[in-house]
Amino acid sequence: MLKIEHLSVEAEGREILHDINLHIRPGEVHVLFGPNGTGKSTLISTIMGFGQYKITAGKIYFKGEDITHMPIFDRAKLGIGVMIQRPPTIKGLSLRQMVNLCGDTKEETEMMAKWMRLDHFLDRSVNEGFSGGEIKRSELLQLMAQKPDLLLLDEPESGVDVENIALVGRAANYILNNNEKPCGNPCRDEKCNEECPFANPNPLTVSHRSGLIITHLGHILKYVPAQVAHILYNGTIAASGDPQELFSNISEYGYEKCVYGGCRRMKK
């Protein structure tokens, strides 16, 4: 699905990423760990093609196509969707219009907005006065409409209150098509399914959607099954392995020890 080869990236003349190699196969979800300021957001933004980042070396392939220098919207059309951390406010453009631009039908928008507890936000300008958690839910609502084949999420849990974390996780899981049902109550028991307005619990039929998710806290892993994790450290991928294993090692020993001490070999 996504193949990154020897990618180096700079911003404002400073190298941020160096010799990144990453391969995400269809249906795979990868997570990206790493301390603040190490280049995780830069990697996601570069995959999407945002202008402030300059690729100095390497290639990015998506679905076999070289997208290294492709315009952002062509990448979106090809199936890449992104949730950035701080999306700008667009005054006068309502969230409803925004979601419709992303590709949803109007009925779907209503229903999904309800599930995301954003139905009262649909007529407000996109991101205007949204709290951190509201921004995440609004981004996910847009991505549900966009239905990307590769989902890039930059810290989906940050700023989200405890009550909504499950919702955010399940929404991400829904977009990745892992048997999630978009019903009003973000619980996981059987009752929830009864309330679900969908005859077909998941309108997104079988696909091979993939994801790359930046997370610090790892909460999202409870909702989204990830196959591979990477640690981005000082601008390069310093370690890769099983998500749970890497995460518990990082939690216990910290990034530096984990990276230099051989993260995968550590056992609790």
Binding site: I72, A76, I90, K91, L93, C102
Partner: protein, 408 residues
Amino acid sequence: MSTDMEKEKITEALNKAAVYGNNIDLNTFDDNNDVHAKSVESMSNPDKKTMEKVGMELNDAEDRSGTFLQVDNAPVEIKTKKDTPMVLMNTGDAAKKYPELVEKYWWKAVKADTDKYTAKTALEKENGYFVHLQKGVKIAAPVQSCMFMSHENQLQRVHNIIILEEGAELNLITGCASDPSLDKGVHVGVSELYIGKNAKLTFTMIHSWGHNVAVRPRTVAIVDEGGLYMSNYVNMDKVADVQMYPTVHLIGKGATTRLNSILVAPEGAHMDIGGKAILEVPGTKAEIITRSISTGGTIINRGYLEGKSEGVKAHLECNGLMLSKKGHILAIPELDAHTGNSDLSHEAAVGKVNQEEIEYLMARGLSEDEATATIVRGFLNINIEGLPKSLEEKINKTLDTFTYTKGM
């Protein structure tokens, strides 16, 4: 109407240049009171289309409480919907019929000797609409008016008066336009708006003038206790020279005003447009919001808030987008507080479309041009509260006529 002494003063003002804008020589224009159109039906299709563009419902005016059409300096149609408790007539006729109102309202909000334009209007035969609503009369369906210029090199003079007695409510949409084939002319429009205690006036004005027409509106509103004056102004066409600085005096406790303006200046347009609110007593509130776009033309956007009393609150916002390498936007917001306890604020930003916003939309699958157009359309979208649906649609329709194309 005026004493001899006053008349002398006004005559002197015929040579008085306005504070802002080019000093137009009114003598070079054709000032006549001729009837150039007998009826709406007799007008050409392009003319009708233009009138519709600025908000007039010509065929099915069912959802309009009244219609007033003036072509050049002659009223062509004055109609009030059956059983509507409203006086709608020509100002000149109203002056004859209601001398006691003349005493109280004529040239009281706008001083006749303000400048040469007001003086000219005061001294010549009087035309324009006069609307009077008695205490408690609320009229939901809008009254529509149109000031139309059809004659080449015409000087059009208009004197409008709206009086809303206590608790009355009115929606008025006024479209000002000229025959699409007309090149040169000058329009002078004096409007005196009196909003009584707890009364509410929504005044929506859409302009679409010929390329070389000069426009000098002179509007002053006086809002009494608990009253509300909402003004929405849209001008998105090339107009050689428009200068206006509508002023609102909030004279009663709790009086409120909101002035919204949407301006688009194509190459060759020169718009000098302001908004002024004078908060005279405690508890008054004002909000002035302007969105201006230059696609090559000049916009001077003035804003002035004067807090004369304690406990007033007002906000001024003039934001401009430059969509062309040519063009010029000058934002001049002014705050003037006379007491320590007034809350006046302003926000002004002029620039190009934010690249981050463009990329955000591109990441959702929009091309660069589509993304830019979407942002620009949003920018123009002032959320206007309390506007009747039909007017909101009208404004949105007008806004939709503006399509951004790259390289304008």
